[in-house]
């Protein structure tokens, strides 16, 4: 009896002391070490560039699978237009486009992942809006794709325009600007709407395929991608209306101007390369023989642009050699060379009447 009592009364304090000692020692030794690895951006002393260089790779936030933008191929290698931009940044910063760790993120997770420092760069069909810029502690480094919100319906539904949709049930992905645009549009037109909100775009399009919803809405680019997954893609059509501007682009954490510049200028290099006719195939030749001063600066033959960004002189060369110019990436992933077969449209270069405009590299 007394023995039991002693045992019981001693076990607790001993356990407590052991725990306390463990906790204190962990706190003292490991917390700062862990801090540099995971929550690194919190420390003022280290920039994202330094962290990335030290780590030897970029942690890239992508979608969990939108064909053409970012999706793993049959060998499990990530492919797509948004992946290419991440690869270009890796090529610029580390000289190796493959030095990337991928983090597939849902629409809901993406900003938290970026804010908390879990990823270095978010390249994932994300719309640039005022609220996100002002309140979320993130910065948009540019626009790599001009998109707009569209609608997909079943061909035999008899719906040919948005005006036919009063009272319709529409499926949408949770936590997107799409959801807000849609509600705004129906409210403005005085039309009734039943909205079902799914976690993922695939589920929303599955609801259309099964007839649970009359339409699915999202950025048009994504609708094209989702349609390729249908059993009978030809039974579904896109409505002609586009109800919003959706400038999609890469996003970085606020407060690191150097990293912001690097990401933005990586996109500019890809755009300029297309404009000047530099491709992954002819970049070596252009580097040695081009007389265009713009090309020379971009490929690091002339001038010291790279130093200002804290990068090596061959950053532009690496981007184009390893990833290609904007047009190459577009064709390969979204355009004529892909199953999506999306027109360049607004995403043509400014010289061809589109909106894509690479800032001068000088």
């Amino acid at each position: 009896m007394i023995k039991d009592f002693l045992k019981k009364s001693l076990i607790l304090p001993i356990a407590f002391i052991v725990m306390a000692v463990l906790f204190v020692s962990c706190g003292a030794k490991e917390a700062p070490a862990a801090g540099t690895e995971t929550a690194a951006p919190v420390e003022e002393s280290k920039s994202t560039l330094e962290i990335v260089k030290e780590r030897g790779k970029i942690i890239l936030g992508v979608t969990a699978g939108v064909p053409g933008y970012s999706a793993p191929d049959s060998e499990g290698k990530w492919q797509g237009f948004d992946v290419d931009l991440g690869r270009a940044v890796a090529a610029a910063v580390l000289g190796d486009a493959d030095a990337i760790e991928y983090r597939p993120l849902s629409a809901k997770e993406r900003f938290t992942a970026l804010q908390s420092g879990e990823i270095d760069l978010l390249s994932r069909v994300t719309t640039w809006t005022a609220t996100r810029d002002s309140e979320l502690g993130v910065n948009f480094a540019g626009v790599n794709y001009y998109d707009g919100q569209g609608f997909m319906v079943a061909k035999d539904s008899g719906i040919t325009s948005l005006a036919d949709m009063d009272g319709a049930t529409i499926a949408v992905q949770a936590g997107t600007t799409t959801e807000l645009n849609l509600s705004d549009y129906f409210r403005k037109q005085g039309m009734e709407l039943e909205l079902i909100t799914f976690e993922k775009n695939d589920q929303a399009s599955a609801a259309l395929e099964a007839g649970r919803a009359d339409a699915v809405t999202s950025d048009q680019s994504q609708l094209y991608a989702l349609r390729t997954k249908f059993k009978e893609p030809d039974n579904f059509i896109m409505l002609p209306e586009v109800i919003s501007k959706e400038p999609l682009g890469p996003v970085v954490r606020e407060g690191d101007d150097q990293w912001f510049d690097i990401v933005g200028w990586t996109l500019n290099v890809m755009l300029n390369a297309e404009e000047y006719g530099v491709t992954s195939a002819n970049v070596d030749e252009m580097k040695s023989s081009s007389t265009n001063p713009n090309v020379k600066r971009m490929l690091g033959v002339e001038g010291g642009v790279a130093e200002g960004f804290g990068l090596d002189n061959d950053w532009g060369y690496n981007i184009i050699k390893q990833v290609g110019n904007y047009g190459e990436s577009f064709d390969r992933n979204l355009g004529a060379g892909s199953p999506l077969n999306i027109e360049r449209g607004y995403n043509a270069l400014w010289v061809d009447g589109g909106l894509q405009y690479g800032m001068p590299v000088r």
Partner: protein, 388 residues
């Protein structure tokens, strides 16, 4: 105060200080980080316009309402699914539990298979099964509904039945039903008292009268107008529809949870001493009376605490509705609202607190009920009556 007490106080103070330290550390860390990243803090966002629509709302809601309202909408949907789920799971659980006790092998084995199959599948799969397999793939499309007369339509968009629109007499009629219910309950209490005092007088004809009164009154007073479902281009313009999202959540969770309840029912009944059954038999009670009067009242005492746990599980599991677009608290508030505002800490702490409060209130009610049942024995036998 002896030595152990002193030690215990020391330990507990230490633990509390440690926890406080931890909270302060994390809180400070959080505040420092968000100020560095220009993220605001506070609940001011609750008054902003939500701007998105929600498919199922129990109270009126438009896109122009605030985020505070989306919280209420989500909460009500969670409560609705929990409420229907708890009623269904209790009924099913009792039924299956009793079936397992049956001497008829066919019945008991059916119940056994039901329990063993359903409880070994994760609840999320149950929900997805009902939605993706049953609704989206098995049921007919909207325009080719499965029909029973003009009364019932079943299709991929849900189950639609006629709706009842209150007429002038509706209030009076509700009052009549209310009075009848009270009268029936009162009469049964009177009857009980009389039995205890050894008086025997027939009261059931009166009870039957009060039961029949609303039925007789219905066609005369015509308090509700029945409106048959009518199909328009995109939906039923009239009638009531149970959406597939709610149906999937409720059916999936109640079948899943009922397996646990049935096991609790079975083991509680088995925990009643065999002598009770034998005594009842020897007194000549018919079998269902034995169950109703002797076995179940005693089994209830052991049953209620574990059943409460299962209710809490069911309530928390309604958050799985998110997987099938059911607009519950998790989906609407911790999902869409969180994403539109970016206020992770505020929204998540609100949602966690809400689930905590729902759970605590449920336990409170169940504990109160448990106590009420245990106290019943006081009616017949008080402590003073025990010769000790």
């Amino acid at each position: 105060m002896n030595k152990t007490q002193g030690r215990n106080i020391l330990i507990q103070t230490g633990m509390i200080l440690l926890l406080l330290g931890l909270f302060t550390y994390f809180g400070y860390n959080y505040l420092e980080n968000i100020s560095k990243r220009n993220i605001g803090i506070g609940f001011g966002f609750m008054d902003d316009t939500a701007g998105f629509s929600i498919s199922q709302t129990l109270i009126s809601y438009t896109e122009a309402d605030t985020f505070a309202r989306t919280f209420v909408i989500g909460l009500l949907n969670t409560l609705l699914a929990s409420f229907i789920g708890i009623i269904l799971t209790t009924a099913l659980g009792f039924l299956v539990g009793l079936m397992r006790m049956s001497k008829n092998k066919l019945i008991s084995i059916t119940a056994l298979v039901y329990v063993e199959t359903l409880r070994n599948i994760p609840p999320l799969l149950h929900v997805l099964f009902w939605y993706q397999v049953v609704f989206l793939n098995v049921l007919p499309p909207f325009k080719e509904s499965f029909k029973m007369g003009e009364w019932l339509y079943i299709n991929v968009r849900g189950i639609t039945i006629p709706s009842f629109i209150p007429q002038q007499n509706a209030h009076t009629y509700s009052l009549l039903i209310f009075v009848s219910i009270i009268a029936i309950i009162y009469l049964s209490l009177v009857k009980k008292r009389m039995v205890l005092r050894g008086v025997h007088k027939r009261l059931w004809p009166w009870q039957l009268l009060f039961l029949l009164l609303p039925v007789i009154a219905a066609p005369i007073m015509n308090p509700y107008d029945m409106v048959l479902p009518e199909i328009t281009k995109f939906k039923f313009s009239s009638g009531m529809t149970m959406r597939p999202e709610l149906f999937s959540v409720v059916v999936a969770l109640s079948t899943y949870t009922s397996t646990y309840i049935s096991e609790i029912v079975r083991s509680s009944i088995m925990s009643v001493p065999l002598g009770q059954l034998e005594a009842a038999k020897s007194l000549g009670f018919p079998s269902w009376k034995r169950l109703q009067l002797i076995i179940i009242p005693q089994a209830l005492r052991t049953m209620i605490p574990p059943v409460t746990n299962q209710y809490l599980n069911l309530i928390k599991n309604t958050s799985l509705g998110m997987a099938v677009a059911y607009p519950d608290l998790t989906s609407v508030f911790a999902g869409t609202t969180l994403n539109q505002t970016g206020r992770a800490l505020e929204v998540m702490s609100m949602v966690m607190m809400t689930y905590l409060i729902i759970s605590l209130v449920t336990s409170l009610i169940m504990n109160w009920y448990n106590k009420a049942i245990i106290d019943k024995k006081g009616d017949l036998l008080s402590k003073e009556d025990i010769p000790l």
